[in-house]
């Protein structure tokens, strides 16, 4: 009985800490390393994508042979990236049906073709971030949480449906969250610090200390501790590559667009000078 009560309390607290974080505008988005021109990284990202993501997630608007833009030949694509009897000219579809996916995960895994663009944040007073930054942050913000059906949760996307598929590459980690917040018990309001630790198995320990001298502000801090730092560092590099690939896949023409843009602007600059002088020549005699 006592055990059940404790578990409920822990759960409630865990939920509360997530909501505190939501109130504060969420987990800070980290900038993804700029790898959009690094062919080796992009190729590695493509490999990770095809091997690990492209089983549940589709990329329905992306053809395998478009990877040629990343310097891969059709033979290389066929030998390393095609597993299902697809042809190199096929789209990156998956066999899992959305209805099944919805039954198994609660929601169908979204198509990732343009996800890096969809996850960008508008420039404005709230900041503005590229979708790559979000994905890079998200992929590295998973933690074990025994209270979730999949056993996983995510700081950047609380209560996410996707389990941490790549957890073996990252190795075990512990998460500690420290929330300083105002609480009201029996009509008395006071501040307290709640330290929650999610261990490598996802079990939580919660420590609550009253802060009689504290009068705000409310804060929420998170700390990951990798139990296998080397593996975790390699995982970060992998995710940088995967993110770069996803950002490339969202708009495969982007490099071409910028390259061409320079020439177009140079031409138009020249055109402006000619038009300006032509105008001056005609208007010279108007008085």
């Amino acid at each position: 009985m006592l055990k059940t009560l404790l578990r409920v309390a822990v759960l409630a607290l865990a939920c509360a800490s997530v909501s505190v974080q939501a109130e504060e505008g969420g987990y800070p988005v980290e900038q993804a390393p700029p790898l959009s021109n690094d062919m080796a990284s992009l190729q590695h990202g493509a490999e990770l994508f095809v091997n690990h993501c492209l089983n549940c997630h589709s990329a329905n608007f992306m053809r395998y042979n478009r990877l040629g833009d990343l310097g891969l030949t059709d033979e290389q694509i066929r030998a390393n990236l095609l597993f299902t009897g697809n042809k190199v000219g096929d789209l990156m579809t998956v066999a899992m049906r959305p209805e099944d996916a919805k039954r198994w995960f609660g929601t169908a895994p979204p198509d990732l073709s343009v996800m890096a663009r969809a996850k960008s944040v508008n420039v404005g007073p709230g900041g503005g971030a590229s979708g790559a930054d979000y994905l890079y942050t998200y992929l590295r913000a998973f933690y074990r949480d025994a209270s979730r059906p999949t056993g996983w949760n995510n700081l950047a996307y609380p209560n996410v449906a996707m389990p941490h598929v790549l957890w073996e590459r990252q190795g075990p980690r512990e998460l500690t969250t420290v929330a300083v917040r105002e609480t009201t018990t029996d009509g008395h309001s006071g501040w307290q610090r709640v330290t929650t630790t999610f261990d490598a198995q996802g079990f939580t320990t919660v420590k609550t200390e009253p802060l009689p001298e504290h009068h705000g502000p409310a804060t929420f801090e998170t700390r990951f501790k990798a139990l296998d730092p080397a593996r975790a560092a390699a995982y970060d590099r992998d995710m940088a590559d995967l993110t770069a690939y996803l950002a490339w896949m969202a708009e495969p023409t982007q490099a071409e667009r910028r390259r061409l843009g320079v020439w177009v602007l140079l031409f138009l600059g020249l055109f402006l000078v000619v038009a300006w002088r032509l105008n001056a020549a005609y208007w010279k005699h108007v008085r």
């Binding site: 608007f61 343009v114 960008s120 508008n122 503005g128 061409l260 843009g261 320079v262 402006l272």
Partner: protein, 461 residues
Amino acid sequence: MNTEDTSTEARDNWVDKRFPLTATWKAHVSEYYAPKNFNFWYFFGSLALLVLVLQIVTGIFLVMHYKPDAMRAFESVEYIMREVPWGWLVRYLHSTGASMFFVVIYLHMLRGLFYGSYRSPRELVWLFGMVIFLCLMAEAFFGYLLPWGQMSFWGAQVIVNLFSAIPVIGPDLALWIRGDYVVSDATLNRFFSFHVIAIPLLLAGLVFLHVVALHQVGSNNPDGVEIKKGPKDRSGHPMDGVPFHPYYTVHDLMGVAGFLLIFAAIVFFTPEMGGYFLEYNNFIPADALKTPPHIAPVWYFTPFYSMLRATTSDFTWLLAGAAVLGAIALFVRGHLRGWVRYALPALLLVIAFLLRQVDAKVWGVAIMGGTVVLLAFLPWLDRSPVRSIRYRPGWHKAIYAIFIFTFLMLGFLGTQPPSPAYNLAAQAGTLIYLGFFLLMPVWSRLGTFKPVPERVTFHKH
């Protein structure tokens, strides 16, 4: 229009005997005399025409590959972006063109406001322009549904639902517009039809009327001086005018070059324009079961949208109060004659009464539509003795500055999720916007005006 051209080359020309080609060219281009003191603000008319042509040409190519089908629309746009040769460029030109159309049109209208270009005898030029503006809004709204992303879908859902606020016929009207109970394939198909056929045809016709009306009365200019009333040269052309061609064709060419430079910079380096020209949420396919947390129309509608949002139930008290005050002021101090003296204040009182009787949602829609339509009344609201801002009292310029700031602020607020502070700012902005126009008959007359010169001020280039 001079249709009886008697020069020898025209008489001998095979075409001119059958069609007034040379005469038309002369009347509207090579011998159309435009004031020689046009400044920066006069680029935007020709630029609007340029963008219209650009939108039509890129639109033609997009329609070759786009599928107006709820199952395939999103996919076909990505197909254009990835697989159609140069499809990405055509699509970015079109999406950037949509936003830049509004940039150009807003600046074009601001020019009219600055220099009193809507004043007699140019009321029809302004009114045709207003109808063009309304068509442009419709065109943009219909077009925005076509990519079939989340913002397309929910934006259309929200805007069509606005019609359901109209008393009595509202819900049926919304249903009739959608062709379904929610935005669906039926809606997509009819919006596609409107976007590629109906509205563009209207636009082309209206632009023609706009230009014909303009050429009938001649262009205004930054001084607001009628060049036709000024001195004339030996052949009877105004001394303060220059033939449109070649003087303004080369001048506008320069404007085109500068504009295209900015346009290309956006297309090639930041086609999403920070999420305002292409909204990021629109890269997620439309899903009728997932409402996005924050739905906002595209930036060019947001000034009007934030006035809609500002019209809360509390705010209608303020508006009703303002209407009552207006009625009293109009009755006591307004220089109205005859039945109008009683009818107009009575109408305001009825509005004040209805403001509290009818749901605020209805008034929100009325404010949103009304603030657009209000612009059409400018020729009759502006009572200043001079046309151009150049010869108005200094504090008039301050009023214009406040109005421009307010319009931009409302635009910004409309892109943001609502918050109490933002709502208050939007309400203040709505009052300023309405006050600017509705009180214009009063304030535009007041102050010490500077003497207007006989001739235009022209500094040699």
